[in-house]
Amino acid sequence: MIWTQRIVLILMGLALLGLTLELIRKRRLREEYAVLWVCTGLMLLGFAVMDRALVGLAGWLHLENATLLALLCFVFLAAIVLHYSVVISRHSEREKSLAQELALLKDELEKVRAATREAPTPPAEAKPRPPALRT
């Protein structure tokens, strides 16, 4: 690989890693969501340093070096997007559950308020609740 290519790869890898780590440091990005970005940056750096690996792999696949890099970037980006889909699904599930819990609690609250208005000293009724749901 020519040295200009290596320099560009190293700069790209360092920029990606630096940006990711800086965002984590400023608490604007949670580690959980940064793992794949860090992996992408490390891959770029790794191939810049061990360019034989990249050339070998490209030859084995009958691809140009640059094409292989683009392909690998695509794979990592696809993994990142898939990860986001999982995260979004989890969040929408939680949001739904929270909205439901909030509405049910509001109803309970109204009942308790109505009961306290009617009887200033309500009997403490310990009603056994069914086991909590795992949501």
Binding site: E95, K96, A99, Q100, L102, A103, L104, K106, D107, R129, P130, P131, A132, L133, R134, T135
Partner: protein, 257 residues
């Protein structure tokens, strides 16, 4: 009018005997119809509690439901039919109801038929009973593309369940305690009626259909208007097939130590 006189308001609690029943009515912008639906339920099924789940309506659905005397839960955001119905099942589970009915807020279901719907639950024949528009003797026909859509979907769901289902999109249902527990914990979001049948089956619970005629809707906009269209059909079929591959839900967790 024999059913009406048997279940007159203020009369004895006929219906399900000692079992406690909740009618869950999901409602989204149904202010025109909801009052009528609640009063209809109170007249023909006075033995059941009525819970309207207002799914973040922009109109006076909540006020109308309360004015008609229903317990009303107001969701802070619009969750869609699946999320609204599940709120009702969570309520039913937490308050220890034995039977939870699903009943549309637009007036197309018949309150008089609720006791019939619950019959297979009482005889322990099924865990979830679905009122079908297409079973004789009270059969009815949908028209055109909608009928084709329902037929195709029915064939797919029947295949997954291993027995005949004629009306997988019916939202007129009765759930026993086990189905309530399941639905309180896991309820499909996208196309809940057909998908929940697959979920129930995958969980080892039994589904049974009984004949149920339905009215024309009294107001609001049907979410089933979308049934027309191959695109929608494909998505529902895909969702149903995906459900058949999902791992079962674990229910017997978190027993107090």
């Amino acid at each position: 009018m024999e059913a009406a006189s048997a279940a007159s308001p203020g009369g004895p609690a006929v219906g399900l005997g000692p079992r406690r029943a909740l009618v869950v009515v999901p409602a989204y912008n149904e202010a025109d119809a909801i009052g009528w639906v609640v009063r209809d339920l109170k007249r023909h099924a006075p033995w059941a509690d009525v819970l309207v789940v207002n799914d973040g309506s922009a109109d006076d659905t909540s006020q109308a439901a309360r004015a008609a005397g229903a317990k009303t839960i107001d969701l802070p955001v619009n969750l869609g039919i699946g999320g609204a119905v599940q709120t009702g099942y969570r309520y039913a589970w937490e308050h220890g109801y034995d039977v939870a009915f699903q009943f549309d807020g637009d007036g197309q279901h018949r309150a008089k038929r609720l006791a019939d719907l619950a019959a297979p639950l009482l005889t322990a024949e099924a865990d979830l009973v679905v009122g079908s528009r297409f079973l004789r003797p009270r059969g009815m026909t949908a028209t055109g593309m909608r009928l084709v859509g329902i037929k195709v979907l029915a064939a797919a769901v029947s295949k997954v369940l291993g027995h005949r289902i004629t009306d997988p999109t019916s939202g007129f249902r009765a759930a026993g305690r086990r189905a309530i527990e399941l639905f309180a914990q896991e309820y499909p979001q996208d196309y809940p009626e057909p998908e929940s049948l697959v979920l129930v089956h995958r969980q080892g619970l039994r589904v049974k259909e009984v004949p149920a005629a339905m009215r024309r809707r009294r107001g609001g906009v049907s979410s089933i208007g979308l049934w027309i269209g191959l695109h929608y059909m494909t998505k529902v079929l895909l969702a149903v097939l995906m459900d058949a591959f999902k791992a079962p839900v674990r229910l017997d967790e978190e027993v107090a130590p």
